[in-house]
Each structure stands twice: as C-alpha cells, then as structure tokens.
C-alpha cells in the first residue's frame, strides 16, 4: 500500500515539478514585468506544493530519501508527469495554453483531493486549492486576451491550442494501482470531472474565439514513464548539480 501511495504521490507531484521547471526557464524573459512576475509566482506555488508532496513521500519511504532524492535523483522513466507539462515554451501563447489546459484540470483535481481519506494529501490540497484557483483565473484571462486580441495573437493562440490539445486526454488516465487507491478513497477519480473539464475549456475557447480542434487521436505516455524527447534535456538541467556533486548538503 505504501509503495502504491508513494507512486501516486509522484504522479501528482511530477506534473507540478516539470511545469514549474518550464516556468522557471522564463523568469526574467517575460513579455512585460507583470506577466514575468505572475508566471514566476505560479512556478513558486507549484514548487511549494511539490515540496509538501515529496516530503510526505520521503517520510513514507524512510531511509535516506528526502524531497530532493525524489525531485532530482530518479531516472527519466521514473518520472510520471503527463506529456502536456513537458512541452516547451515555444512562445507566450504555448506557455499560456499549456498552463490553462493544466490549471483547469488542476483546480478540479485539488478540490477532489481535499476530500481524500489520506489526511496529509487532503491538507496539501486544502492549502493549494486557493493558489491553483488564481493560476486558473490568470491563464483563462490570458487565453481570452490572446484569442480575442489581435489577428496575430489569435493565430498564435490557435496554433498553440491545435498543438497542445492532443495531450489533454492523458490527464484523465489511471493505471491499475491508482484505481485501487481510488477505491480506497485516497486517490482522486478524475473521470468524475472529465466532462466538466472539457465543457469549461471549450466555453473559454468559445469566448476567446478559438476553434476547438477536431481531435480523433490523443497522445499519452508520460504517466507510464515514456516521455517526449524534451524530457531528457529538462532533467539534464534540473539534475545537474545533484549528479555532478553527489551526496552533498547545499
């Protein structure tokens, strides 16, 4: 049970970790100071949640594990984040669309995780839900601005949506051990809010004058540890210090 729980915590936390890492790349390079600060702030919230999740996982695992062994010392196929969050910061439209597609999922996920039978997870969610509500407002506002702004911003937002929509379905995938935890009332049954998720994002796209892509095929793999080619580079950078100088205190 503990092993399955640790595994579950990783699938939840890794989404935040990798998305936070992507947002960290942008710090100091935003289109204006306000958006720069806001995106950094979202990254900070995500990393804050990651620390709580991994501190809990380390406690369950015991031994020499710590929040940092979870964050920095796993192999690529041991990271279980969805493919969506590892997609690059191609331009501001990609950054915002990626954020929005995740945030609308994340807020619903956190609302349900608050009801978890696992008290620690419920407490992390109760604290994080307010942060994530802000993230979703921020990214939804920007989807509207970009979609219904200028011709150029509309074109870029539509392009980003067309390219990223294919990664949304994976947010709702469960593996077998997760389903057991769902039955025990610990893990969130994401199927419960899948249709609400799509209704909400489609409503915002309609306000933003964006076309929902006519998508027949969806991409998946991250949740099983099979990532895109981007992932190796993300980890190379993120793990650089821990790999180069092993077993040190910082």
């Amino acid at each position: 049970m503990s092993k399955a729980l640790i595994q579950y915590i990783c699938t939840v936390a890794d989404n935040n970790l990798i998305l936070g890492q992507r947002l960290g790349e942008l710090c100091g390079h935003g289109p204006n100071i306000e958006t720069d600060i806001a995106l950094t702030n979202i990254g900070l919230d995500l990393f804050g949640q990651v620390r709580s999740y991994f501190q809990y996982a380390a406690k369950l695992e015991g031994g020499n594990s710590s929040e940092d062994t979870f964050a920095f010392l796993r192999k690529e196929n041991e990271y279980k984040n969805v493919l969506l969050v590892e997609q690059p910061n191609t331009d501001f439209a990609y950054t915002i669309l990626r954020q929005f597609l995740y945030d609308v999922y994340h807020i619903r996920f956190m609302e349900h995780l608050q009801q978890s039978n696992d008290e620690t997870l419920a407490a992390i969610a109760a604290k994080g839900v307010k942060e994530v509500a802000y993230h979703a407002r921020f990214s939804a506002d920007w989807v509207r601005r970009l979609g219904d702004g200028t011709k150029e911003s509309h074109r870029r937002a539509q392009q980003a949506l067309d390219d990223l929509y294919t990664y949304t379905d994976e947010l709702f995938h469960h593996n077998e051990s997760e389903l057991n935890l769902v039955n025990e009332g610990i893990a969130v049954n994401t199927a419960q809010f899948k249709s609400d998720y799509y209704q909400t994002i489609h409503a915002v796209f309609s306000e933003a004058t964006l076309q929902v892509p006519d998508q027949k095929y969806f991409l998946k793999g991250g949740k099983k540890g099979i990532h895109s080619e981007h992932m190796g580079y993300i980890l190379t950078e993120m793990q650089y210090m821990q790999r180069t100088y092993p077993n040190m205190q910082w």
Binding site: C27, N32, R51, T150, E207
Partner: protein, 318 residues
C-alpha cells in the same frame, strides 16, 4: 514665470530639502532635479530588471528544492523592485515605455556588476552576499533622500534586499561547511565577485562630478569612497568567519584609521565594463531586447482585447 519668481521658488525648494521635508510628485522642482532623479531612479530600475538575468540563469539548476524556491522568490522580488521603481520614475513625467526604450537603445545605464557571468552555484551565494550587500550600503542612505516616492520605495526595497543578502551569505556558509569541492567553489566565486563588487560604488570621489549636487539634494548621503570603505569594513569579518580569503594581498586592518586598508581597484576594467565592453554587456542587453521584441504581440493583444471589452457580458467562471 519671471526669473525672480523662479529664484524665489528655488530658494523655498532648497529650504524644504534642508528642513528634511519630502518633495512630492506635484510639487514644483527645478528641471535639473527632475532630470537627475529620472536618471538615477530609472538606472536603479534597469539594474533590478537586468539583475534578474545572471541569477535567473541558475533557477533551472538549483541543487535542492529549497534553494530553487528561495532563488525564484529572490529573482521575483527584483522584478517587483523594478516595477516599483519604474512607477516612482513615472511620477516625474516620463513613461515606462520611454524608459525601457532608453535601456534597450543603450542610452541609459544599469549597474555594471550584472555584466559579469554567473558561472557556478556559488555565484548565487556571492551575488546575494556581496552584490546585494553593496546595494544595501547605497540604498539605506537613500531612505532619507528628498524625493518622497523614491524614499518610500527604498524603505520597502531595503527590507527585501537585506533578506537577500542574508540568504546569499547562508549559501556561502553552507558551502564552506561542505566538502572540499564546495569550499573551492565558494572561494572561486569570491575571487571573481570581490573586485567587481567594490567597483559598484562608482569612481573615486575625485572623479565623481555629480557628488556635490547630489549630496545637497540628499540623493547621495555619503560619498563613493566612504560607502566603499564601509562595505569593506563590514564584509571582511564576514568572510573570515566562514573561512574565506579576500583576494587582496594589500588588505590589512589599519589601527590608526580604524578601517581596513585595501588594494587598488583596476579602474581600466571598471571603465571598460561601464562603457559596454564587459564579459556580458552584449548578451544582457540582447536578452532584454529579445524579451521586449518577442513580447510586443502579447502587449498589443492585451491592449486590443481591453478595448473590445467595454460592452461585453460577464465571462464563464473557470
């Protein structure tokens, strides 16, 4: 306005500063006072924004989650300071767009220290400890400066800077308590950042033409050399406490002066970097230009959207 009237306004203005009264945005002020303040406040704002780059360079590579969160928060604070200071400068009748244009065209200066590269994790410690430490020396004095919006900005900024300085020192302390590799990394960072930090206080007093006027306006409370000496006196014991060696063979406590004597600054290097030929001048400005140019369509979209919004119904809740 007649010359007599201007003269009397100017006398009253000087009297108010002498009485430690604050000058506010809508008060009358001599044109030179306004221009000097725009120059100094915007230089300060530009330094905060360009200053995000060397540390931003390490956010994706921090060794632990705790350090990553702290560094992100620090760089974000700098963005906040930049925003705050641009707003303070705007009270003097210039727009943020104009100020940014001056930065990107190379017309406006920013602190030269950010034209040095951040090469190792220990540089995050050295920058916080030395660069923020030197910045505080300059800025604490400005809390009592005569221009109200700048003085109030300084109060808030100094609080955060002093937190950054402690954070930087704490990074150095952790390294010095670590392995030989870590101690070497810390010493190497100090070796590279020490002299540029001393240069942050600007040219020697004899070569600083604006000092006298700035002192009268309380835009400067101590001279460059006084501040530099205070920084050396404060920092040397901090280095010794954790076992770091200041890279200066002439550094020695002078019992008569009750100050440290220290070696000569390489003024040739100072002017080289100030005049745009330091190790990273080109890439820092290039990064700012790139962010500005690539952000243009985003800023345009936000404006266009805002204009369309006046007559629209409420939006869907997410």
């Amino acid at each position: 306005m007649s010359e007599m009237e201007i003269k009397s306004l100017e006398e009253r203005f000087n009297q108010r500063i002498a009485n430690d009264e604050k000058i506010e945005a809508k008060d009358w002020m001599p044109e030179k006072y306004r221009k000097t303040h725009i120059r100094q406040i915007s230089q300060h704002a530009h330094s905060e924004i360009v200053g995000m780059l060397p540390e931003g360079n390490w956010i994706t590579r921090c060794p632990t989650l705790r350090r990553k969160v702290a560094l992100l928060a620090k760089v974000q604070d700098e963005g906040g300071h930049g925003l705050y200071l641009y707003s303070a400068a705007e009270t003097l009748g210039i727009s943020r767009e104009e100020l940014i244009e001056q930065l990107l065209s190379g017309e406006a200066k920013y602190s030269s220290i950010f034209n040095y590269p951040a090469l190792t994790w220990a540089d995050m410690g050295a920058i916080g400890w030395l660069v923020d430490g030197a910045a505080i020396m300059n800025q604490v004095a400005l809390i009592n400066t005569s221009y109200g919006p700048y003085s109030r900005a300084m109060i808030r900024i100094c609080k955060e800077e002093s937190f950054h300085q402690r954070q930087g020192y704490e990074i150095m302390m952790a390294l010095m308590n670590g392995t030989q590799d870590q101690r070497d990394m810390a010493q190497d960072a100090l070796n590279r950042w020490w002299w540029p930090s001393l240069m942050m206080f600007g040219p020697r007093d004899a070569e600083s033409p604006n000092t006298e006027q700035s002192m009268r306006w309380k835009l400067k409370r101590k001279t460059n050399d006084e501040l530099r000496q205070a920084f050396v006196d404060q920092t040397v014991p901090q280095a010794e406490l954790i076992g770091l060696r200041i890279p200066d063979d002439k550094l020695k406590w002078n019992e008569d002066r009750k100050h440290y004597d220290f070696g000569d600054i390489d003024w040739e290097e100072f002017w080289q970097v100030v005049n745009g030929h330091g190790p990273c001048n080109k890439q820092r400005l290039e990064a700012r230009r790139k962010a500005h140019e690539e952000g243009a369509w985003v800023r345009d979209a936000a404006m266009a959207y805002a204009e369309k919004q006046s007559n629209k119904p409420l939006r869907v809740a997410v």
